[in-house]
Structures are given as structure tokens and as C-alpha cells.
Symmetry: C2
Subunit: 348 residues, 2 copies
Amino acid sequence: MRRAKQNPLITIKDIKPTHPSLKVDGVFNCGATKYNNQYILLLRIAESAISEDGYIKVPVLENKKLQIKLIDKNDKNLDFRDSRTIKNTESKVEYLTSLSHFRRAYSNDGIHFTVDKEPWIYPESEMESWGIEDPRVTHVLDKYLITYTAVSKHGVSVGLIETKDFISYERKGIILPVDNKDVSILPEKINGKYFMYHRPVPNDIGYPNMWSASSLDLTHWGEHKILLTVDENDWENGRIGGGAPSVKTNRGWLHIYHAANKDSVYKLGAFLTSLDDPTKILYKTSEPILSPFETYELHGFFGNVVFTCGIILESDEIKIYYGAADDKICLATISLDEIYQKLKPFRG
Amino acid sequence: MRRAKQNPLITIKDIKPTHPSLKVDGVFNCGATKYNNQYILLLRIAESAISEDGYIKVPVLENKKLQIKLIDKNDKNLDFRDSRTIKNTESKVEYLTSLSHFRRAYSNDGIHFTVDKEPWIYPESEMESWGIEDPRVTHVLDKYLITYTAVSKHGVSVGLIETKDFISYERKGIILPVDNKDVSILPEKINGKYFMYHRPVPNDIGYPNMWSASSLDLTHWGEHKILLTVDENDWENGRIGGGAPSVKTNRGWLHIYHAANKDSVYKLGAFLTSLDDPTKILYKTSEPILSPFETYELHGFFGNVVFTCGIILESDEIKIYYGAADDKICLATISLDEIYQKLKPFRG
């Protein structure tokens, strides 16, 4: 695994806020694909309101318009310890500190990117009133499918948007209800069905595990099955979830996933399924393939995080675009051979 | 609303345990339909292991076989206060105290039922290793669809089983991932799509609200939308969820749902949607139509509960089969006119 020496490729300094009262907290967790011979990243941009003494200002959408809520920093019924959220006494999230949207970034070499000055896709529906996050892009036939996390007071659900040209797009609704995220769709039908990986978070019983599901039309999903559980290794015993959409290799579907331990240190791993059945893991890395190490991964809006939503396979080499410390876009490359060497038979 | 004077219709005395080491804790929350001019109830039967001094015995399936786990009653890391569950220090459910399966009950008059002496559908898959619960039966064309709660250490998900004759049946897999339950499917296509109501329980953000979803084939579901939230009235501010499958009336689709307040007192309410669009509530009862009142509703395995999974509409009268205090089957009848009088315009 080699980190690009130009890392971080994109930082908050490269991003213009959407509104004078907002500042950019992070540009991270991007979808990645190629279109018209260019590299395209679909960036998650998180913005927060510039706070004033004694108050935190929280951006939310109400009736499709940006509103700024004033939250008293001394409110003893609220918990401000996590930089990403404000929780109530029951540990339920009452507010997110930032509101995320998506922008495009273009590059001819996969390293130097030009970023849109305006949002491309901004949260819109009631289910997106706290933002849209973590886009994954899958190229299926003549379409690019964007799966993303839709956040609101109702919870964390999964939306689907389609584009053919990265200019116009169409919202296809909520494809998985709360709480679910980390959805990536495989790029072609397998035995007549599309497949996805998803990561529900159960409330009463169970832990944040990875599941598979199938679809005939990409908007209606079923045949939900457990794929990978958190009780594997120390570095992945907190939560796991899909990363970038799987890529097709001679040896099977290769998937890069993320995993966090109980201290929320996020690392990347990989697994391989047969080309015939992406619902069963045959080989898996027992050690992470990328862990927070560089300063830009250890420190940031939320430190100790490497997290990918987008990879590109070219000439037996995988470009992994990843969010570092929840505020920067970075690149690491790894050969298929190097990943194959790290894969071990998985008892399933 | 008139309770049957024969209530309770079925109690644990009417149920033979499946195994000498088990006792029946409850017979409740039944699906209801008519088949071959008979009334059929699909009963949820909960069984627990007969415990011994100092230990609670917990029945679970392992490799499809019944296993009895011994749980030390003095284990200070476990919380035994809820009769239905054993929780760990993080309030996660570690065990259910009982394991549920389904049996059929038949009747010519809708009041006097003959109950199967053996299970009809017993938990089987990994997702059902802690039991199958709360079946709803919808008659669609030549099939009867059974939606049910599949419980395991992985969480609470929703399974689908089809039968044509209430003898043989076919498992159709998990149609909604964790945590979700209270699923009822509407009995016909509306504008080319099937519809269901479901009730996910989000973990980090949001509350147990009712949602709608659509399907073309009954096994793959999408277009998830919020239908009804818990922030309505005192008696329904804890959790709400679908009851029996909706019935078609001249005025629209009528649905009987359940709601609990924050003290877990379960009551029934009703709402009406247009026949064209079951995803928007037009009228709703602001007061419950049935509340725990009789001794058999106030006291039992889990008291203060009335909960329905099955109703039958005949001659402008609705038969509501309901679980009372999580251990008995009861019947109450109400005319459509009486429900209409209680319905109020819903601002939705």
C-alpha cells in the first residue's frame, strides 16, 4: 500500500462554503469513478455554522430552506463530547453539528483535482434535513448509481440517485429504512439479480454487521442476509461496513470495507467472493490493509480515521480514494497481487 | 367495541408444549383469515424452559436443534427485570426468556377454536434461532402471505412465508433487515404496486415510527416513507406499529394499529387512507379504540397489553383478534360506523 506523496489531495482550504454564515468542516468520504476519460470524485462536504460565545449554531433544513438553530453550550441535558453530534441524556442524537452535501471534483491524472465551487446535490427531502453523506458511485450499464446516507430526525436511511452525465440527476427515493448506511451496489447483474452490501444498526439486539441484499430493478431490495459480523478481530470488533463498490477481478468480486474497534479507530480491510455469489465471503484479510498512521489521518475533524467510499481498478492496481480524519481526501494505491497475498480463507 | 363474553378464547391451558422440558408462557398475537369457510388463526406460542433453583433456562436453536442454556440468576452483569428478556450492562438483549413458534387454530363460528397439538411452523434459519413471532396473514390472489418477526442474536428482522392451503408452506427469506417488525402487507396491488407498513427501530437517531414501502413482487421492497410518528398523543408516544393487514372499505383502506406509551401500556388505534394511496393517512383516531381494562388484559406474562395481528371484516363488522397481556387470545368486535365516528382528519 502506497500513499500518494501529494496527500492530502483535497482539504477544506480547497472548498468554498455555500453560505457566508457557514464554514467547511470537512471534505471526505468520496465516491469515485471514471467518466469521459476523466476521474470524477463525488465529495462529501460537511459545513457547520460559525458559532458565537456560549452557543453552538447548528445548520438544518426546514421546508427545504437552511435554518440555523442556536444551542446553548451550557445546557446540562446535552452531551457535546463527540465533535460530530449533540446527544441528549438518553444518548440519542438531537443534532448533528454539520450539514453535508455533495460536490464534484474532476481530474485528468487521478491526483490533481478541480473542485466545483457550488454544491452539485444538496439535501432536499424531509429524510435529508440533517444532510446527505458518504456517496458511493456504481457504474451500471449507461447509468451511474449514487447510494448515500440520508440523515434526519427520523434516523439514518439510504437514498439512491441516478445520473447519466454527472450534470442532471434523478432522485429514486429511500431504498433502505432506518438505521442503515454504507450501501454499495455491485456493478452488474449476477445470475439475473443486482446485489448490494448494507450495514443496518439494530437497536435492541445485535451489533453493526454487514448484510447483503438483492434486487431486480435497483430500487426494491430483498433477500437480506448476514455477510460479515463484528466478532472477528480486535481492530474490527466495534462496527464494520461496506466501503467502495466491489470491483471484478479474475479471482472474484473484491471489496474494500471499513472497520472500527470499540475506540472508533477506523481501518480498511478487504474480502473476496466468488463471481457467482457475492453473498458469501471466501477470502478475507485478517489484518487491516490501511490504518491511520500519517498526521493527516491521525488528526482532523474526527481523528484516527481512514474510510473509503470509492476505488478505481486500473491495470491490476487499485486506487483507493479515502477520507482521512473526516476532513481530507487522500489517495493510496495497492496492487491486486499485494491484496491477494493478504487474503486468507474465510470460514464464513 | 364489544369484547366477546367468551374471552379469553384461547389460553396456555389449551396448548400442549412441544417438549417435556418446556412450558407454554403464552398464546397471543395471532394472524387471522378465512379459508374454506373456516376461521383460521395463526397463533404465536411462546415456550420457556422449566427453570431450576438459581438458574433460568433459556431455549434457543443451535444448528436447527433446540438447546437449553443455563443462566445464573445471580449474575450481576445481567438484568432480569423485564419478564421477556435478559439484558447485559449495555441494555442490549442477551437472551429471550422464551422461544416462539406458530400453530394453527380452526373454528366454524370465529369464537370456539380447535388448536393444533403440534407446531405448524417452527423456527429454522440462523435469523430465527431465538424464535418467530407475531404472524400477520394477508390473502393475495391464490396465496396467503405470512409476515413475521425473525429473532436471533443478530437482531429483529422480518421474514415472509407463503402458503396456499395452510398445510404446506414456502419460506421466502428475510424481506426487511434489522431492526424491524410489525409488518403487514395490503391485500391487493394499488396502481401496479403492493404496499406494506413496517416499523423499524433506529439506534442512533429517531424513534420507533411507522413507515410504508412498495413492492412489485412481494419479496423486494423499496420506496420507504415515514407514515406515522410517535409524537402524537400521550397514549402513543412510546412506540407505534402496524397491527393487522388493512381491510378495504368504501371510505378507504382501514388499518388497526397498536401504540404504547413510555410505560409500555399497549392500546389499539385506527387510521384510514384513500384507496389510491395507502402511504398517506387521511383520518385517524385521536383516542384509542381498545385499551387494557379487563383482568385478562391487565395481568399475564406481560400485563397492560392489547395487541392485534389479525382482523376479519364481515358485514360491516370487524372481528379484532388480539393478544391480551402477552399470553391469551381474545376477540372484540366493532362496527365500521363506530370506527368512522372516531376518526378525525389527520394533518399528516
